[in-house]
Amino acid sequence: MEPTSGKFTQNARRAIGDQRLQAALANFTTTFPKKRLDVIGRLPEFDALRDEGVAIKTHVQANLEFYLARFEERVSEQGGTVHWCRDASEARETILGLCRAANAKTVTKSKSMIGEEIAINEHLEAAGIEAVETDLGEYIIQIRGESPSHILVPAIHLTGPDIADTFKDKHAELPANRDLSEPEAILREARAVLREKFLTADVGLSGANMLIAETGSAVVVTNEGNADLVMNLPKTHIVLASIEKVMPTLEDAATILRLLARSATGQDITAYTTFASGPAREGETDGPQDFHVVLLDNGRTEMLANDFTDMLGCIRCGACLNHCPVYATVGGHAYGWVYSGPMGKVLTPDLLGAHKAADLPNASTFCGKCEEICPMRIPLPRMMRHWRERQFMEGKGAAAKGKSGLKLWAWMAKRPALYRMAASAAAGFLGLLGKGKGRIGRLPVPEGRTFQAQYRENAGEDQ
């Protein structure tokens, strides 16, 4: 997927005019925050748990080398292999190499944002290997050739009839007159089509919500159970994860899991939380023969050293999207790449380069809601300001554009007579506009005279 983050303004304009998208956004930006409030209302310790989560992440960032080395050791002891990759292209090549070694024709995938980040599907497809997304929403957008518009609900921008049309188009082998008017029917069809893939895939490729140093485990949460089929059925399982996902212990993972689903979907916990540790053991009749972990940096070590370290604490719950007034207005596609909403405004310039996403940190009202609800207390507005400052220093971005206006104002302000004349002319002009028709006519009309003129008059009365 070619990023269009540099065209946020155009993307946003299109999104605002899209009636169906607006209806979908209104639905879910009210649903998710309410569900979140309900579940945290039943967990009085929620804020204390957030503090603990932040403390764990701070500890991990300070000891990242230790925990990654320990994780690798444990994976090896269990018969698995860790592959270190500096960037997206190394990760793509590594995964392709593993798939080729497994003689893979079909790879089943469970949702992975890192997979989106490195565009692994396109890479495998180009090499003649079928990569099938198995999360229902992710599958729908994959066969439509789109990118996810929300980190948790990738197809939130589509209606049931949209999806039914897509299925009729893409599942051409099925009877054309079948009834897909009910969501249940769409689900049954997806289940049947994907079941065939689950059972025949040669490689399963999953992401990981966490990696556990103590046990060499990959933790994956889903509600559908698709990741478990991806991790259990094929002969080879590849975990794709970035380095900041490592956690010290199972106990630490439990703490983070208490925050994740509550913040994300407003569930106490997802239906499935899986701790996968290595290949099949002695005597086991299922599970993979080969277990690989592709450990990706792709900009994370840079973030560890710069102003954006806190962003490495992100657990990808998506709460900042669900609560963001800008996201609620433009949806996920306007952000032009994998990560949308407030997290995307910080991550996208970091991972793609600031010049490719200059508008994103500026597309904020700075209402602060994202920081308020972030389970990891990431200061998202502050980091957007960092980006704005950098742009300003480089003479770019909206703040820098404002500079010429300020210069003009300063020049005028030093010339009082000219300033008075221009101000009263502007007030008069605005007054005329107020008498106009349509949208312009609804503008509030200036109170007739300028502030300076009124001040002179009042000052005269006082004397």
């Binding site: 990738p154 499935y272 599970g287």
Partner: protein
């Protein structure tokens, strides 16, 4: 890619993040962080919470006096839900006298695509969210939890604990402090679900549509 490993680790060192805690000590003695009140209580309170949370997550349950009652309860549940009376069971459940229910067909082994009903045994039940903790192994194939349309799970009441951390402690206690992790630990809370189509909640997306717990007393 050995160069990549060294490059990444040296970039981490160069970042020189301020020190925090002692990672080796944390590994050597894993301790619980804050355990919420809902993960604590007397055995009776935990049983009641486990059942109400499991129910809220869309699971169902039957309480049985002993393991001998499992075949009849399984048959009753499947008949009531119009499901085929054919079970693929975990080999660990071979010691149950399945033949007492003549209508029930029971096979043992991992799940295949055609299996409609799977039955496994849970290692523990976690009260705080009504979660089943199921371990993989030769005796308890993990695919049985996910591939069939209906999942039956045997759980001893005595294995109900308060919090996730209690589940880990139980696992460490029984399997030793190192190498205690099976290939898979599955936390299962209710049946498979998705809200990917217009946020409408649908059950049985890829995993089971039905999750039924057979809870053994005593």
């Amino acid at each position: 890619m050995n160069g990549a490993r060294e490059d990444i680790l040296s970039a981490i060192r160069r970042a020189a993040v301020a020190p925090d805690g002692d990672p080796a000590a944390r590994m050597a003695d894993p301790r619980p962080n804050l355990v919420p009140a809902r993960g604590q209580g007397t055995p009776d309170e935990l049983l009641a919470r486990f059942l109400s949370e499991a129910d809220a997550a869309g699971g169902t349950f039957t309480q049985l006096a002993s393991r001998d009652e499992i075949p009849a309860a399984a048959e009753g549940y499947l008949a009531a839900n119009n499901q085929p009376l054919e079970i693929k069971a975990a080999p660990g459940l071979k010691n149950i006298t399945w033949t007492q229910q003549s209508l029930l067909t029971v096979d043992f082994g991992r799940a295949e695509g055609a299996d409609h009903v799977g039955i496994t045994e849970a290692f523990a039940g976690i009260a705080e969210t009504g979660t089943l903790m199921v371990l993989s192994g030769a005796e308890n194939p993990a695919s049985l939890n996910f591939l069939p349309d209906t999942h039956l799970v045997v759980l001893d009441t005595s294995r109900i604990v308060g919090a996730y951390e209690d589940g880990w402690a139980l696992l460490r206690g029984e399997n030793g402090k190192t190498g205690f992790m099976p290939r898979m630990v599955n936390w299962i809370t209710g049946p498979s679900r998705s809200a990917d189509i217009e946020l409408i909640l649908l059950l049985g997306v890829h995993g089971p549509r039905r999750l039924h717990i057979l809870l053994i007393d005593g």
